[in-house]
């Protein structure tokens, strides 16, 4: 009995347990839209992670005798104009944006967070000149810049995702800088200083991790959905994105324009819209929940 109670009290609250409790309380109190969106986000995550382990040969899948079939037990979402399974192609299409989006999101959140924290905490001329450079990048129209890069360099989705994450770094850094500046006047940050905590610990743990993680997660999700959007847009346009016969949600929409029936067109378009909407709603839900906890 006593052993049990000390076991309880010495239990560490690790980063994943706080993350879990944040998410769990978000789950209980959030509206239906948040629940739906998080189910979709989890599905996309799972599909994205198992994608590389499932092999798919788009050439062998062509079978003209079964083109434009309606959904059935064998082909859940029917077949496209070349007799390929739409469900399987939708699933494999995730690979086109999943890892590039993930890398872009993580990179933008990490670099933006660190730069923003440095500008906000240290201020001075370093902070000011860094902010100026970041604001300059922020004024570039993102889409135009991306297309420009694609015409200069051989386009690849990795290049596109890295460029788009770089284009998001300034706005993330600015958000974090404002937050850090506001936090610098908070009593509890002053108290941490007065108690003799190391400044690096205060910046990295108390400010960036505890206070900004929800903001950063939300921005990360935003960059991810931007990469999804760019990838599908470029693949739809055809010249720069994923090329036939390899599947991408964008070129699936483009392909099915020449199909005789409606659903092969509707399905990838719906997938794009639902996924982006779910990602954004999920990010908002997490951020809102953390705001409420603070009050």
């Amino acid at each position: 009995m006593t052993g049990q109670s000390t076991g309880q009290s010495t239990r560490q609250s690790t980063w994943y347990s706080t993350w879990y409790s944040t998410w769990h309380s978000a789950w209980k109190e959030q509206p239906l839209s948040f629940k739906l969106s998080s189910i979709i986000v989890v599905l996309v995550l799972c599909f994205g992670v198992i994608n590389p382990f499932i092999s798919y040969d788009p050439v062998l899948d062509v079978e003209l005798s079964r083109r434009d079939l309606a959904p059935s037990w064998e082909y859940w979402m029917g077949t496209d104009g070349q007799g390929r399974s739409v469900a399987l192609r939708l699933f494999k299409g995730i690979e086109a944006f999943f890892f590039p989006g993930l890398i872009a999101g993580l990179f933008a959140a990490f670099v933006g967070g660190v730069l923003g924290a440095l500008c906000g905490y240290f201020g001075g001329w370093i902070g000011r000149s860094l902010s100026a450079v970041l604001e300059l990048i922020d004024t570039l129209p993102r889409m135009v810049f991306l297309v420009l890069i694609c015409t200069i360099f051989p386009p690849s989705i990795l290049l596109i995702s890295i460029i788009s994450s770089v284009l998001f770094i300034p706005s993330i850094a600015t958000i974090i800088r404002r937050k850090v500046e506001a936090l610098g006047a908070e009593d509890y940050i002053l108290a941490h200083v007065a108690h003799g905590f190391h400044p690096l610990k205060i910046i990295s743990y108390h400010i960036l991790w505890l206070q900004c993680r929800a903001l950063l997660t939300r921005q990360m999700i935003f960059v991810f959905s931007y990469v999804l959007f760019i990838e599908t847009a470029l693949s739809y346009l055809g010249d720069y994105g994923v090329q036939e016969p390899y599947p991408s949600w964008g070129n699936m929409v483009a392909q099915s324009r020449i199909s005789a029936v409606a659903w092969p067109w509707a399905l990838p378009a719906l997938a794009i819209i639902i996924t982006i909407a779910a990602l954004l709603a999920f990010g908002d839900g997490i951020a809102r929940r953390e705001e409420e906890v603070k009050r």
Binding site: Q8, S9, G184, Y188, A191, A194, H195, G196, Q211, V293
Partner: protein, 303 residues
């Protein structure tokens, strides 16, 4: 400064630039605190109490901020002259003294990093805002223990288990009802009084030789105030810690303080022992009498 003083402040001047020009919010304040002593600072709102103590804590980041005076802090026999080099950071510009705030901050950090937590620490007025809202109370107490241990040699440090146990002990020492539960609670799950107890635990777990308590009972209801004041009194004695206690409340002051300084408009009006304040109220400064009168305390002994 004698060996017997812990903190010694001489002619402290603090100025701020406002849209209406330079204002002097602390104007030549001097006082000192001996080990184990409780010095009370009494004064109306805006009289510069917080600014004076934050200058000692090295927390004023405003511009131009601390502009003159001396602050000496004694830590384990070594005296740190905190404002000794201040004049070299001040230059004349358009007839006004200007301070190189960045360089000054860097310089101050180099001195204060040895003193924060160990020699001096603080509890603030609003207990809810001075606890980190996203960390459990237990974690916060443990963090101060960690910060304290990080000054020691690696071999002498407490291990993780011992730190957790000490954190629980601290929560018990501040008379938390259910320390094991409070350990895992977030500040928003606790009452204001409990938050202030937690904050006292966090500050004292640093084992400072002087604690600055800036109106720790303002905003709490009367019974809780009394509890917090008694608690502070007991813990300060037990830990042999000196205290700089700021309050508007004369009754609290008379109960806790050994000596009291009265401030108004950034100046120290008088410095008296708590006993004199009680026994010889009519011999006090005019303004002190106003304060005593407002608390209904004048005449009780002198008539």
């Amino acid at each position: 400064m004698s060996e017997q003083t812990l903190v010694d402040v001489q002619d402290l001047v603090i100025e701020f630039d406002t849209p209406k020009g330079r204002v002097r919010v602390v104007d030549g304040v001097s006082f000192s605190v001996s080990p184990g002593e409780v010095l009370g600072i009494l004064g109306e709102s805006g009289s510069g109490k917080t600014m004076s103590t934050q200058a000692i804590l090295g927390l004023i980041g405003g511009y131009p901020g601390v502009m003159g005076g001396q602050i000496n802090l004694n830590d384990q026999g070594v005296t740190y002259e905190l404002l000794k080099d201040l004049p070299s950071f001040i230059s004349e510009r358009r007839g006004q003294p200007e301070k190189n705030e960045r360089a000054w901050r860097k310089h101050r950090y180099a001195q204060m990093k040895k003193l924060w937590g160990r020699a001096i620490t603080s509890i603030f007025q609003n207990p809810r805002r001075s606890l980190d809202p996203l960390m459990t109370v237990g974690q916060q107490v443990k963090e101060s223990i960690q910060a304290r241990e990080s000054h020691k040699d690696a071999l002498e440090r407490l291990n993780d288990q011992a730190q957790t146990e000490e954190a629980l002990e601290w929560l018990a020492k501040v008379q938390m009802v259910d320390p094991a539960r409070v350990y895992h609670s977030y500040p928003h799950e606790l009452s204001g009084g409990m938050c202030q107890r937690a904050m006292i635990a966090v500050a004292l777990a640093c084992k400072p030789s002087i604690l600055v308590a800036d109106e720790p009972t303002t905003g709490l209801d009367a019974t809780v105030r009394a509890q917090i004041v008694h608690l502070l009194q007991d813990l300060i004695k037990a830990e042999q810690c000196a205290m700089l206690y700021i309050t508007h409340d004369i009754r609290e002051m008379l109960y806790l303080a050994d000596r009291v300084i009265v401030m108004r408009h950034g100046k120290v009006l008088e410095q008296v022992s708590a006993n004199d304040l009680k026994e010889h109220a009519l011999e006090r400064h005019e303004y002190t009498q106003v304060l005593l009168d407002a608390a209904g305390m004048i005449g009780a002994h002198d008539e």
